[in-house]
Amino acid sequence: MQYMLLIYNDPAKEPPYGTPAFNEMMGGYFAANERMKADGVLRSGEGLQGVETATSLRIKAGKVETMDGPFAETREHLGGYYVIDVPDLDAALTYAALIPSAHFGTIEVRPLMDYNPGA
């Protein structure tokens, strides 16, 4: 099964750039990436720029509305994601626990929809 691991962070709780804690976090991300690649489970993964760069759009009555900012005004924002292919939720949770942001943010684990009939 494929799962997306969505990384939610409160930027105020993230270790600041240049501190030892920041370097530790980046080392943790590097180690998690390497482990997922070595285990052959990593399908894709990206980090996102901050919510101050976000633009939101919706269509109301045929008219495009464009707005500054993220979809929801919350303290924790989507900061990046991985897509992994593993046998079950327990395996997905094991990889989610390797993500350094789990220590100061939240990792949401969601199965992808299965669009591949009969494969």
């Binding site: 799962y3 079950d88 939720l89 327990d90 199965p111 591949n116 009939p117 009969g118």
Partner: protein
């Protein structure tokens, strides 16, 4: 019967990875059995027959349904199992079923409901009644939980070593929640949840023998259940162990609980359930509860569960062991518990012990107003009235 259904369901669910489908095809197989066995007589292995028919029905359903990767996997497993039926050696996969039903990805109440439904064979109306829920609400809760198991890929598997302790604790806590629900409801309900919980705990102990925490949880349950007949006094007020009529205790359960606890402790793998079992045991020490030992055990429990509720119990034990001022000082730091009724009951008792009768009466009034059962309210009322008989502030 209950054991048969749970076993067959566990084998089907583990193969199909779909609890709803497993329940449906097992039900259909049971209906077929009624007409078929009536005509052709009982097969050599009724269980093997049911399993094989259920698997064939599952194959038909999956072939007819919109196919997906998961269906393809389930069909492969089914084709293999159906081709080589093992009617005489049906495996017991109930531990896998229990770990799926008690997965932390499900809400605690859903874990309870699913476990009662699949392993104990309770009906949805029976479960709804036990939790004072409307039947449709409970039905929706159960189908949502079953759907999540399938959609989220919750495995029907015994967890690996690195997750074992954490996942086992979720299972044991779920079963204990079933037990306490039955304990509060009393033995007159149509399905006694205390007995269901005991059945589950014994089953897990048998399927996974020699595990110190499983033994600890079973011991705690037996030692607590042993006092059940004595927990309400003749006037309908609940009684703490120290005031119960010991002749009403179930001495067979007490000695079995103590034996199991001794076996668990000898394994030298301490854990929270063993400590709680030891506390339940000390509550029944002769001639009165061994409070210094209980206080020490709560101190040990705090290392596993540093929660305000455990701190509250530790404070009460310290007060009972002879230092009410220190106990009260600890209680006064636990403001997080302002909405927790036992906090006010405990605080009232400790204020009374330290001689602050006016404070005690206010705390008792709060605790009585929010008491969960009439028996508890009556017990607290008696305590509050008892204050007046001394030389309390409101005495004369």
């Amino acid at each position: 019967m209950r054991a048969d259904r749970g076993r067959l369901l566990s084998v089907l669910a583990a193969g199909l990875r779909d609890l709803s489908l497993a329940e449906e095809v097992l039900q259909e197989a049971a209906v077929s059995a009624l007409s078929h066995w009536g005509r052709a007589g009982l097969p050599a292995s009724p269980q093997g027959w049911l399993l094989q028919v259920a698997r064939r029905k599952a194959i038909d359903r999956l072939r007819g349904a919109k196919r997906s990767n998961r269906h393809a996997q389930a069909l492969t497993v089914l084709a293999r199992d159906e081709a080589a039926p093992e009617p005489d050696a049906i495996p017991d996969e109930r531990l896998r079923l229990i770990f799926a039903c008690c997965h932390p990805a499900l809400e605690p109440k859903s874990r309870v409901a699913l476990t009662l439904r699949t392993v104990c064979g309770l009906t949805t109306p029976e479960i709804a009644r036990a939790f004072l829920d409307a039947e449709p609400t409970m039905g929706q809760r159960i189908s949502r939980a079953k759907a999540k198991i399938t959609a989220a890929g919750i495995p029907f598997a015994i967890p690996e070593d690195d997750h074992w302790a954490e996942r086992l604790e979720t299972v044991l806590t779920t079963i204990y929640l079933i037990f306490t629900t039955g304990y509060v409801a009393g033995p007159d309900e149509p399905r006694d949840l205390c007995l269901e919980a005991e059945y589950l705990m014994r089953l897990i102990d048998r399927l996974r023998p020699e595990d110190a925490e499983i033994e600890g949880a079973l011991a705690m349950m037996l030692l607590t259940a042993a006092r059940r007949a004595a927990r309400i006094g003749a006037d309908g007020a609940s009684l703490p162990p120290s005031e119960q009529d010991r002749r009403l205790w179930d001495h067979a359960r007490i000695s079995e609980g103590r034996d199991i606890l001794a076996r668990a402790v000898a394994r030298r793998r301490p854990g929270p359930f063993q400590i709680k079992a030891a506390i339940a045991d000390c509550q029944m020490a002769e001639p009165r509860p061994d409070w210094p030992q209980i206080a020490a055990l709560y101190g040990a429990l705090l290392r596993f569960e540093p929660t305000p509720v455990v701190q509250l119990n530790a404070a009460v034990a310290i007060a009972e062991a002879g230092d009410p001022a220190r106990g009260l000082a600890m209680v006064e730091t636990l403001s997080d518990l302002a909405d927790y009724q036992p906090f006010h009951a405990a605080r009232a008792a400790l204020l009374a012990m330290t001689g602050d009768h006016q404070g005690a009466i206010a705390a008792y009034q709060h605790a009585i107003a929010t008491a969960q059962t009439p028996a508890e309210a009556l017990f607290l009322t008696r305590r509050m009235e008892g204050l007046g008989s001394g030389q309390g502030a409101l005495g004369a």
